[in-house]
Symmetry: C2
Subunit: 357 residues, 2 copies
């Protein structure tokens, strides 16, 4: 049977500690050359809306130890509205019933069969959270107790889960520009996590006394600055532009997620994406020299040392997602969903064929 799951199913079975554990082991495999990840590709063309582009994005990964391969696909209508003088990248829920389109297909490396199909939404934020959680685990001070968090959206929740899974956190101070959003976030996550989550009214208040500074925003401009660094801090970002370059350069240790290579960007003729919104990350890559930086898999595999004393300032930048993350997370989702009888079961024959392709 091939399992079709929805985000509720994924959320029901995927805990942050499990996610961190499976990804930790899979990064070790990647460092050994025992797992594979095919870099993302994005294809852009015009669409019905004159202010939007269509984007078809795909990435693959194979985790032999887990017995799975995964392909993650996003089929998006994207706009770049200007808000408060800044361009933001916004995916439009243009599919029927105002929904988004992102799918993970999971296959067996033992017999090739399609094991499961599920939306990428929950898995996507959990794998981002888990990667940054591993950054905290390997780089933050062991006695870290206080986290500051910028952002109160979809990614911020996963970051809150992740930091609490990696360290014994007592308090998370959260800032985001919209007061009601950050207060709602504080209420929700105080309930869900066994920590005090407090909404504060400035980034400075979020980071005051923090051992870990986490950025989980949708911003394409810098949100974390050098002036906020202090001895012993661990800084964590989910997107390249979040961190001021000067801040990254001033850290004692900067670790990136991976250096498997830049995504492939294809455009139909005459089509381009807003320079500032999309290219800042890549320009940053050149300025910082990503090729020479240690990566999370290297750190986990012990190929590079982590923090060596409590005064160092460390930084983890989740520079680019990997298809492999969806294989790792997918293996947990599939196994647990099967155990619990979740999802819709289809005959595997519906997704296989009797002809040699």
């Amino acid at each position: 049977m091939t399992l079709l799951l929805n985000n509720d199913d994924v959320e029901a079975v995927l805990t942050m500690p499990d996610c961190i554990a499976v990804m930790e082991d899979t990064y070790r495999e990647l460092a050994k050359g025992a797992a594979l990840s095919r870099t993302r590709s994005d294809s852009f063309c015009r669409t019905a809306r004159s202010d939007a582009l269509y984007s078809l994005k795909s990435m693959d990964g194979v985790a032999p130890k887990l017995g799975v391969g995964a392909v993650r696909i996003n089929s998006d209508i994207i706009t770049w509205p200007v808000e408060g003088g800044t361009e933001r990248r916004v995916k439009v829920p243009a599919a029927p019933d105002a929904r988004w389109v992102g799918l993970v297909l999971l296959f067996s490396t033992q017999n090739g069969e399609p094991l499961a199909i599920f939306p990428d939404g929950v898995a996507q934020r959990m794998r981002v959270g888990a990667a940054n959680g591993l950054g905290v685990k390997y780089l933050a001070r062991k006695n870290a107790r206080v986290a500051g968090l910028l952002g109160s959206g979809w990614q911020a929740g996963a970051q809150a889960m992740a930091v609490c899974a990696a360290r014994k956190i007592d308090v998370i101070r959260c800032f985001s520009p919209n007061r009601s959003n950050r207060e709602a976030f504080a209420r929700e996550w105080s309930g869900k996590l066994d920590v005090e989550v407090i909404a504060v009214d400035s980034p400075e208040a979020a980071f005051a006394g923090a051992d870990v500074a986490m950025c989980a925003t949708n911003s394409i401009d810098n949100v974390f600055f050098r002036r906020w660094l202090k001895p012993g801090l661990h800084v964590s970002a989910v997107k390249r532009p979040e961190l001021e370059v000067a801040a990254m350069k001033a850290c004692d240790m900067l670790v990136i997620h991976n250096n498997v290579g830049s995504p492939t960007h294809l455009f139909t003729k005459g089509v381009s994406i807003p320079e500032k919104a999309e290219n800042k990350g890549w320009m940053l890559a050149e300025e910082i020299g990503f090729d020479t930086l240690p990566t999370l898999p290297q750190l986990i595999a012990g190929e590079v040392a982590g923090r060596t004393n409590d005064n160092q300032i460390t930084c983890f930048l989740n520079n680019l997602g990997l298809g492999l993350q969806f294989a790792a997370v997918g293996s947990i989702v599939y196994r647990k969903a099967k155990e619990r009888g979740l999802g819709r079961e289809f005959p595997t024959d519906w997704f296989t064929q009797s002809v040699h392709p």
Copy 2:
């Protein structure tokens, strides 16, 4: 609704003339830069069988004029058995019920929604046939009447359809090493096509008097040689190694399918694929200098001239498949299947999500 189709559905709606027509127009779009194709990637690792590897293959394409994007995925267990002193690449039907795994996912470029999911088997041979059929249309003599064909398998049938769609063919002479296979092929296709298909007992007999020489084999060794060239002939191959390099070099005009770039091959540590079986094509590419050769999209767009007289020897080599072909073919499959009410309809919501991914 999202349509789930099987190969019977695809076969029922996909005619070779339609396939050729939609691909011809889509290649024109590609030449203009108005369509996109992301080159294939293959990831290889070990699997349960010690004599086999697992391969996860993917390719994408976007055809804005047709309003669709497609991702094609293959999840295969592959062996390289030696038969008659020669290695062959054989995909093992290892999925439940002894089946293969190849899927096409079709998306709308207008709203991103998943339109259809179907196995790649029939679509795959139709798009190979149609590409070579376009080679015949643009390169063979207008008065071509006789076709020679090497091969009697899955691809050979599509090549027979294609040459008949492109020229008014009277007779196809078919050779393959196994007598009963070639005789069965002749019976089947004499019935299906309005031409005489004759099984012959040597390649020479197949090509005697032929205006078009078509190779549609599973061979990883040369099957067509320079000594069989003669004025006015059009040579057609579905795989790189089929043609002796000397034969290609001796043609007046050699057109390849595309030069979007070599596939990405990823291997886990210690894993490799048989040099001869897999690398011959790429070595060939270097020897022939694929980068400088005219391509089918250029030929169709009129950027390069086709045959200019009846004595020229022309050659079309289908060097590498494109994800874009599955978008083009998929658009026909989807539209016609909808019209005829074929396939299983699922709520689109099952494949979309309410969270911003």
